[in-house]
């Protein structure tokens, strides 16, 4: 990957080497190796504020800056589509940091699911008859499937619209998660007609109606591309912020740098962060104009 791809044929066809679309849109981004090299060439030296700094320190701080951008400014959302099987669990993707939306596919439409913040799962410690925790030969606690999960996996068969749905059966009465809040005096923050989910210990647990349904998980990552440094890139709008961030972090860790210089570097970093965020927010005058055109619209 490179900023300047020539000749043009290389850009459009990647020289005929699959994947032929790998260079498309590449110009927007600067690769991590270029960021590091350019920083060392331009910010590190005997006549500069930063000297005697190792390359791996610059790499580390550059990655931290890119992570921070991904969390707070870029919000470049990844989306994956998966089928939820009868165990009602979905394993989180390897580069998952936090979810943005979890949606269910219904008739080709995506409907956003709500998080159930009340239901929890637990790791079950296997106990003997006396209630003592049991251990394996290595001295580790023996664990099993949580009874919470087992109960939830019960399938109701009987009259009514919930026939065939998974739910909790307590004292002979069946409870279905999507009924939460669906009655008088409901908790509005939980009001939801669809299935629900909860992120738990590396998986997303879904409520009973999600079995055999397609789910789309939109999530944010840290931009580290599963550890492949050749794929780590920064949008050009945020390039200057990354340099300023590295400069600030290196100066703030160095002995003998006066406080004024450290504060100045921090302020520069903050200013560049705001600039990057503004640029990346894609505020176009034409879009603003389109929105303003609706200002006189009558609302019935």
């Amino acid at each position: 990957m490179s900023n300047y791809i020539s000749p043009a044929e290389q850009y459009y066809t990647n020289g005929g080497v699959p994947p032929t679309d790998s260079n498309w849109g590449e110009y927007q981004y600067v690769v991590l190796a270029d960021i590091v090299n350019q920083f060392i060439a331009n910010y590190v030296g005997n006549d500069k504020m930063i000297n005697n700094v190792k390359r791996n320190q610059v790499v580390f701080e550059a990655k931290q800056a890119i992570k921070l951008l991904n969390f707070d400014a870029l919000r470049s959302v990844k989306a994956i589509e998966l089928l939820v099987t009868s165990n009602l669990k979905l394993i989180l993707p390897p580069d998952y940091v936090n979810y943005v939306r979890v949606s269910i596919e219904i008739d080709g439409q995506l409907r956003v699911l709500s998080e159930d913040r009340r239901t929890n799962t637990a790791v079950k410690y296997i106990q003997d008859n006396a209630g003592n925790v049991t251990f394996d030969v290595n001295g580790n606690i023996v664990t099993g499937i949580s009874d919470l999960d087992k109960h939830r996996l019960g399938q109701y068969t009987g009259p009514g619209p919930y026939n065939g749905c998974m739910g909790w059966c307590i004292d002979g009465n069946w409870y279905f998660s999507y009924a939460i809040g669906g009655r008088f005096g409901m908790e509005t923050s939980e009001a939801n007609a669809g299935p629900m989910f909860r992120v738990n210990n590396g998986v997303i647990d879904f409520s009973s109606a999600m079995a055999d349904r397609l789910v789309v998980l939109e999530y944010i990552s840290d931009g580290m591309q599963n550890g492949d440094d050749t794929l780590v890139t920064v949008h050009q709008f945020a390039e200057e912020f990354v340099y300023r961030y590295i400069k600030w972090k290196l100066l703030s860790n160095k002995v003998g740098v006066n406080l004024y210089d450290k504060k100045l570097a921090r302020d520069e970093k903050q200013a560049e962060f705001r600039n990057a965020k503004l640029r990346l927010s894609n505020l176009h005058p034409s879009r603003l104009l389109m929105s303003l055109r609706g200002q006189n619209k009558w609302i019935k």
Binding site: L32, A33, V36, N46, D47, K54, R55, N56, V59, F60, K63, M224, G227, D229, T230
Partner: protein, 233 residues
């Protein structure tokens, strides 16, 4: 330059019949003097940089660090291919290196020097684990260990070498004096620039004064050296 230096040294030494240096003795002392002046360049460079950062040096002709760097760069060996030994997992370091400037992988990727302790930390950290994009190396006894260990070829070094040992060669005696022979195969002139001729003479005189036990020579040479330093600073 070596013949001029030798002639000057002998002229000063033979004044008042203080003593005489054989060609072999002269070559030994010349090598010692050249190494000392060569090494001193690095300290001079450091001092000059500090002064430049304090705005005591200017640009152009008064850019002293650049002038010193030019001299040091005379001894730069670029792109020396390093040989990998699969038994020790080490690349052989150049035998004549004074300081390694950079180790390069695949002609473009600079390999970062770290201490052994840092290498352990980096190798055990997920985010900073060395890879072919950002490799690291440690100096390990007589060799260079590169991480990640899948790098076993295409590694080269830019380094500063020691100056070659000077050798004043002669072919025959004339009037009891050896006659200088520049065409001898083992002839080797000083590698320092011409501006160092005076320093070489002073240094060799110091050593010669010690050899022939002439305190006057040592003292005179030292005074000259101190005066020279004061003028430069």
């Amino acid at each position: 330059m070596i013949n001029n230096v030798r002639n000057t040294v002998l002229t000063i030494l033979s004044k008042d019949n203080r003593g005489y240096l054989t060609p072999a003795e002269f070559n030994l002392l010349a090598d010692q003097a050249q190494k000392e002046i060569f090494e001193n360049y690095f300290y001079q460079y450091s001092t000059a940089l500090a002064k430049q950062n304090a705005r005591l040096h200017g640009s152009g002709y008064s850019d002293i660090p650049a002038r010193i760097a030019e001299v040091i760069d005379l001894f730069m060996v670029p792109g020396e291919a390093l040989v990998y030994d699969s038994l020790t997992d080490l690349f052989a370091a150049p035998t004549d290196y004074y300081k390694i400037e950079s180790i390069i992988y695949d002609d473009v990727t600079e390999i970062d020097y770290v201490t052994k302790q840092e290498a352990r930390m980096l190798n055990s950290a997920k985010m900073t684990k060395p890879n072919v994009t950002f490799p690291i190396y440690t100096l390990d006894g007589e060799g260079i260990r590169v991480y990640p260990d899948i790098i076993v070829a295409d590694v080269s070094a830019d380094y500063i070498r020691y100056p070659l040992a000077p050798k004043w060669t002669w072919v025959s005696l004339s009037g009891g004096e050896p006659v200088f022979d520049q065409s001898a195969l083992d002839y080797q002139d000083f590698e320092l620039p011409l501006s160092d001729e005076n320093n070489l003479i002073i240094k060799i005189l110091q050593y010669a004064g010690l050899t022939i036990r002439e305190a006057d020579i040592v003292q005179a040479a030292k005074s000259e050296e101190v005066q020279d330093k004061q003028e430069k600073n």
